[in-house]
């Protein structure tokens, strides 16, 4: 006996995102960090800060920590991204 059954999933695809234009180089530029603030991240991003300046000539590094490591970045942090040339963030703990 044939049964007709329905798809339980969200069949709507997300709208395609648009990649930001990459800079030709990072010398003299501003890079922002968005950290989840978990154990180890302070030292990790401190090393990253130093290496960006020494190896890629980055002029300014701005470091931001989310107020909630289980939620997206705070709106005021996202708003600051417009003033940066690149962002480094991640998933992990």
């Amino acid at each position: 006996m044939t049964l007709q059954v329905l798809d339980p999933t969200n069949e709507t695809a997300p709208p395609p995102g648009q990649l930001a234009l990459r800079p030709a180089g990072l010398a003299g530029k501003t890079v922002g960090f968005i950290s989840n603030g978990k154990e180890g991240t302070t030292a990790f991003f401190a090393h990253l800060d130093r290496m960006l300046r020494e190896t890629l000539g980055v002029a300014s590094v701005i470091s931001r920590v989310k107020s909630n490591y289980s939620a997206p970045a705070d709106a005021h942090i996202v708003a600051e991204i417009q003033g940066w040339d690149a962002v480094i963030t991640g998933i992990g703990d």
Partner: protein
């Protein structure tokens, strides 16, 4: 009514199981085939159009429609009469303060703990007696299961995908309790949390596994509650220092001692708020000395305020047992209570 979900013609019920399992559309258990008729019956019972918006998952902007929730409810074994509770629970989970994405993606592996209050319990045969935290009755099993299937299918919360739970716990299959409002002098949980008496309601909480305590050797409220507080202190020590909503399940044997002494849920919460707290330095006693640092004298209460405690009357009539249900991540996800059948603040959150 016009359903828009893709339909599949499958040979028989056994083929349905293999088809849905192979697609990753199940929780590992057999599912009830979600036929158009069964889905429409749920929508008609709840008086909802298929395309009606239950809500939007805030982080990813995913719209949850009544049709999709009904499909997952049918799969879980829900009858139409169970669907309003599923709708209300999921609407509550989509409130920003519940932090649905964080709670369901986290390595912490919490489940959605659900409490039913009001006349709906009798209508559904939801019983807050024997085996309250296990397989107590059909209604609470299928309502709890429907939420997990909806998370799996509508929000792709699958193990190793968005669901990064290291361990999880059995409550992720179904974790729903009906409060025993008839055999207690206490106010129902929903009334404690601000709803009018007599209104059917659902409370959801991002919760860890229940921890059973036992104290059948005293009738003194302070001593009985001290055992609950000790279990909460253990959670602060062994799991997480962050305070938030905790739930206490208090079955009849212990409940009668507290009620006889004139203790209300408010009295219980005030006591627990004072007693369930630890010093950060205690973490050094349980192998976590590395993160005590110079903050050893800091005090961490399990509850931000006494109002954070959810006290629930449920469980069988005998046994000096109780349960502590800890939060996933206390200060990040808050319990939400909503009435069934009322549309409260139905507009999607403005960006």
């Amino acid at each position: 009514m016009q359903l828009t979900s893709k339909a599949y013609d499958v040979e028989d019920i056994w083929a349905v199981q293999e088809f849905y399992h192979s697609k990753g559309w199940t929780d590992g258990l057999p599912v009830v085939p979600p036929s158009p008729d069964a889905v429409q019956a749920c929508l008609e019972w709840a008086m909802m159009a298929p395309e009606q918006l239950v809500g939007i998952e805030p982080v990813r902007g995913v719209a949850i429609t009544a049709e999709k929730l009904a499909i997952n409810a049918v799969m879980a074994g829900c009858l139409p009469m169970h669907f309003p509770a599923v709708l209300t629970a999921f609407t509550a989970m989509l409130q920003p303060e519940f932090l649905l994405h964080g709670a369901t993606a986290s390595t912490g592996g919490c489940a959605v703990f659900v409490v039913l209050n009001g006349p709906i319990r009798q209508e559904l045969g939801a019983v807050g007696g024997f085996n309250a935290l296990g397989n107590s009755d059909r209604a609470t099993m299928v309502i709890g299961r429907a939420l997990r299937l909806a998370l799996i299918n509508i929000l792709e919360v699958r193990p190793g995908g968005i669901d990064r739970s290291t361990l999880g716990h059995p409550g992720k299959l179904s974790f729903c309790v009906a409060e025993d409002e008839e055999d207690t002098t206490w106010l129902p949980l929903s009334v404690q949390r601000g709803l009018p008496a007599g209104v059917s309601a659902v409370t959801v909480m991002a919760a860890g596994a229940p921890r059973q305590i036992m104290n059948e050797w005293t009738t003194r409220p302070e001593e009985i509650l001290e055992t609950f507080a000790a279990e909460m202190r253990a959670n602060l020590r062994h799991y997480s220092l962050h305070g938030g909503n905790y739930a206490l399940i208090i079955p009849k044997q212990l409940r009668e001692h507290l009620q006889s002494a004139g203790w209300s849920k408010t009295d219980i919460a005030a006591f627990i708020h004072e007693r369930a707290r630890v010093y950060r330095r205690e973490w050094a006693e349980v192998g976590k000395g590395a993160v005590v640092r110079d903050r050893g004298d800091s005090i961490y209460p399990a509850l931000g305020s006494a109002d954070d405690l959810l006290v629930i009357a449920a469980g069988g009539p005998a046994g000096g047992f109780g349960a502590v249900i800890p939060p996933w991540l206390g200060h990040k996800s808050r319990a939400v209570t909503l009435p069934i059948g009322a549309c409260v603040d139905c507009e999607p959150p403005k960006q």
